[in-house]
Amino acid sequence: MALVSASISAIIIFYSFSYISHYENQTEYYLMVVLFFGAMMGLVFSGNLIFLYLFWEITAITSWRLIGFFREKLHVLRADKAFLVTLFGSTLMLIGFISIYQQNGSFDLAVLKNSHISNIAVVLILAGILSKSATLPLHTWLPDAGVAPSPVTALLHAALLVKIGVYVFARLFIATDFVIDEYWHIVIPVIAGISALVSAGAAMIETDLKRIIAYSTVSQIGFIFLGLAIGNEIGVVGALLYIMMHGLAKGGLFLCAGIVEQNSKTKDITQLGGLIRTMPITAVSFLLCSFSVMGIPPFGGFFSKYMVITAATQSGRLWISFIFLAGAVMTIIYLLRVFNLVFMGQAKTQPVKEGSAVMLISVALLAALSLAGGVLIYYPSQFLQLTVQQLQEIYR
């Protein structure tokens, strides 16, 4: 996890050198971004519920500043919304942590392992996790946050912020192995499934490029939750793989969107068209990253999607996997719709320049990594299996 975050962050910073250089307040930008990464690392390595909460809130504050970076009224409002929704969730989560403390007398995750926690605590913690990882019904801040400067959105959505919620979920319910009632194993996948479907539907209708990709993130997070909530080995490995592959591919999509937005000055996909002729590298990278998100081999997304869906059938609840099948179908359709509208067909704008070399290298790199992740699946898969097996041995 730390490895993935760090490498994606490096690419994003690289990209933002070029992107942000036109704007004011660069110092603040870099301060916030680096602070964000620091908090992220702290969160990943903390073994205590209170530290977890502290780092969690630091990321919330920095992302609040980053979304409202341009200081326009709308941006600030959206930033406030994101902050308030996540704060609402995390406060509930803090209460949940406190109730765990009352029951078990410790905040230390090593001490807490295998302990039973009450349903109310599960609900409270889930509220926190869902709000952070932008899952239904606490997801609408994420599409609204699309106003941020592009590398930030990429960073927020794809790589890190939303994955924090997923990570904490995995940390608490898989690694620490809280004992929870059986029906949560159905309720959580259903929430994730509804989230995947609703946001896929929204992505199908929206016309703002960044909002579509953001809704797509919400939808894909549903798949990750599915794998984790099912909780068998293939599901967990699949979900971790999903985090990795989705991070790479979605980051690439956001950065491509950033290039398109910066050079064409619009985010409305109905006003774009035919960009493949003037910006071939961006178009191809966008397409490759979309293939990975759709789960088409030989891209990395294929394996993670296969593992997660197989895990759902393994659990014996076939209908859950059909919900996600519908989600996957819609993913294919809306991503191709975006690609066709933006890059194919007749040009509707002035000829749009290709992005700068640094930006292009970043997107091409992400696309190539998505491809490599699939072709050389042996290595990440073995690595993750080892990780999950170790986790299970340590905590058993």
Binding site: K81, V85, L136, P137, H139, T140, W141, L197, V198, S199, A200, G201, A202, M204, I205, E206, E233, I234, V237, F291, M294, G295, I296, P297, P298, F302, F303, K305, Y306, M307, I309, T310, A312, T313, Q314, G316, L318, S321, F322, L325, A328, V329, M330, I332, I333, L336, N340, M344, G345, I377, Y378, S381, Q382, Q385
Partner: protein
């Protein structure tokens, strides 16, 4: 010979494809040479490997996903067929594609498709199979999308249709793993209980949609308009049929052991019968060479599904034999369409005519292939169709009737096609055309002569390639014993000929020979709607998905309103009420403090009391 050689049919075309993508566009000739070398060498490998049994395995992604290639008679046979077609098509392209755009991409995607198809055939692990199977999607998208300005729409359509069915395949594989605990195809036997049947249907969807059966067919006629002819001859006409029917045969014979009594077999046969009849009805009224052929590409897959669906040895062997025959004559037909298009610049039937004296070789090849697809003895299509008929007859008269009806219309539409392209009056614009060049004629001649050989010496392919698939089982009866069926077929063909002569006479011209069917009372309404795409399952479901999405978006907006609308209003309401308490009046504030401290006191006293 080491097992590593099994990797070569995948690696060689893949590397060649990437290499071609990397070389410069201007470097004419080099890419053709690379493609020819690559396909030629895998053809040699496939010949050398035939009759051998090899397995090659590597650890892979875990959870039963292993990288296993297995070569045995069935996969060796399909491998051989794929490589032969690949070589011939590349040869054809060397001349046909001259002067077109995106040549590097074309050859590269073509070779990558070959690599993926070879991988899918050799794979002995379901996930590995799916990996290559879905990998074909990417090159399919590319191959259609480079066809022209608006071709990307068709490419998207093809991608979505095939992608959806591949996702079904994915879930099916998940269920198979759940039921059996293994993903190695040769070790799987799935019981046909409720869950097993679901798995079968899901896998079947994946297989038949690759084959282009209804209701997953509607991209093929569109692609016929947008994409290039070699693409049509290679992917929908031969390669995807081979793959789809290969998988269908494997799942229904090896993995699920379908028996003749089960409802799944009836389901398969019904899909086959419906596909035959509906697609051929559409083919009959087409006025475009390529589009007409593309509907036949859909219709013929119905015979194969029907044959395999019978679950009787004669039907299965007939279906598989039909698969290879169809790949032969259908690609030959598309290649003739290509040479007509190359020489005359059009494929519109109304503008063509009288080409036989100008393009005699193409005409003869067309004649052989058309006779073959119509089931005229002694060409190969006759024998495989007879076997399918025999199987269908045994399972139910209705299936037989559907198959024969299909044969009637097939014959009628090819009479019309041949009449209006090669016979009849020559268009004045076509006075100066010449025969196509040799690299284009060679593949056609080879394929057409194989059609004849497979027909006349039908024991050779049957005994050598097809029957080993069933483990040496011989079909129950030999064809010669089935005289009634043969007489019936002959009658049907004669009927089609008479019908054509009559209709062409009345309507005046070969290209109008099907107009009376087009304009028949009830049919004309249906045809009108079909041409406006009311029945296209793709369009219907896209509209449905769009509606559902709107509903889902409104749910999303409603949730958003909870935050943007409701909570804001609640907070305002609440704080307005609180604000009223802050009047600036000191005595009021004192009162509040007093009340508060009294409450605290009470709570503390209570606490003390209980303590």
């Amino acid at each position: 010979m080491s097992e590593n050689i099994l990797l070569l049919p995948v690696i060689i075309p893949l590397l060649a494809g990437i290499l071609i993508l990397a070389i410069r566009q201007r470097l004419g000739g080099l890419r053709e040479i690379i493609s020819l070398l690559a396909t030629g060498s895998i053809l040699l490998i496939a010949i050398a490997l035939f009759k051998q049994e090899l397995t090659y395995s590597l650890p892979w992604a875990g959870f039963g996903m292993e990288f296993i290639f297995r070569l045995y008679h069935f996969s060796a046979f399909i491998l051989l067929a794929i490589t032969v077609f690949a070589f011939l098509i590349v040869l054809y392209c060397c001349s046909f594609m001259q002067g077109k755009n995106y040549l590097n991409q074309f050859y590269s995607y073509l070779l990558i498709s070959v690599a993926m198809a070879n991988g899918a055939v050799l794979a002995d692990n379901l996930v590995l199979l799916l990996f290559f199977w879905e990998g074909l999607l990417v090159s399919l998208f590319g191959l259609i999308a480079i066809g022209g300005r608006e071709a990307f729409k068709t490419a998207t359509k093809a991608f979505i249709i095939v992608g959806v069915s591949d996702l079904c395949l994915m879930i099916g594989i998940g269920i198979v793993w759940y039921l059996t605990g293994t993903l190695t195809i040769s070790k799987i036997t799935v019981p046909l209980n409720a869950l097993g049947s679901t798995a079968f249907i899901l896998l079947m969807i994946g297989a038949i949609s690759k084959g282009g059966s209804m209701p997953f067919h509607s991209w093929i006629p569109d692609a016929a308009v947008d994409a290039s002819v070699p693409f049509m001859a290679f992917l929908p006409a031969s390669l995807e049929k081979l793959l789809g029917i290969y998988l269908l045969a494997r799942i229904s014979l090896d993995m699920f052991k379908l028996t003749a009594g089960s409802w799944l077999s009836v389901l398969l046969m019904s899909i086959g019968a419906i596909t035959i009849v509906l697609a051929v009805m559409m083919a009959l009224i087409q006025k475009d060479y390529k589009k007409l052929l593309s509907y036949h590409a859909i219709s013929q897959v119905g015979y194969m599904i029907l044959g395999i669906g019978t679950c009787l040895p004669v039907g299965i062997i007939g279906g598989l034999f039909h698969m290879i025959n169809n790949a032969l004559y259908k690609s030959c037909l598309f290649l003739t369409a290509g040479s007509v298009e190359k020489q005359t610049g059009t494929t519109n039937l109304n503008k063509l005519g009288g080409l036989w004296s100008k393009m005699p070789v193409t005409f003869v090849c067309f004649l052989i292939a058309a006779a073959s697809i119509s089931g005229v003895p002694p060409f190969n299509g006759f024998f495989s169709k007879e076997m399918v008929y025999a199987g269908a007859m045994e399972r139910g008269l209705i299936f037989y009737l559907a198959a024969v009806l299909g044969a009637f219309f097939t014959a009628a539409s090819f009479l019309k096609l041949g009449h209006s392209v090669f016979l009849g009056k020559r268009n004045r614009a076509n006075e100066n055309i010449k025969e196509a060049s040799w690299p284009m004629l060679m593949p056609m001649i080879v394929i057409a002569s194989v059609c004849v050989i497979f027909g006349v010496y039908n024991r050779f392919p049957l005994g050598k390639f097809i029957e080993p698939v069933l483990g040496g089982q011989k079909p129950v009866e030999h064809l010669t014993e089935n005289t009634t069926l043969i007489v019936l077929t002959a009658l049907v063909l004669a009927g089609a000929l008479l019908h054509h002569l009559f209709a062409a006479g009345v309507m005046g011209g070969g290209n109008k020979a099907s107009d009376h069917i087009r304009n028949a009372p009830i049919l004309s309404n249906i045809y009108d709607r079909a041409e406006k795409r009311y029945f296209d399952p793709y369009d219907i479901s896209l509209r449905a998905i769009n509606k559902i999405s709107k509903i889902l978006l409104s749910i999303d907006r409603w949730i958003n309103w909870l935050y943007d609308g409701l909570s804001v209003r609640l907070v305002c309401l609440f704080s307005n009420e609180i604000r009223r308490a802050h009047t600036g009046n000191y005595s009021l504030y004192l009162l509040w403090s007093l009340l508060g401290s009294i409450i605290i006191l009470i709570v503390m006293l209570k606490g003390l009391g209980s303590w």
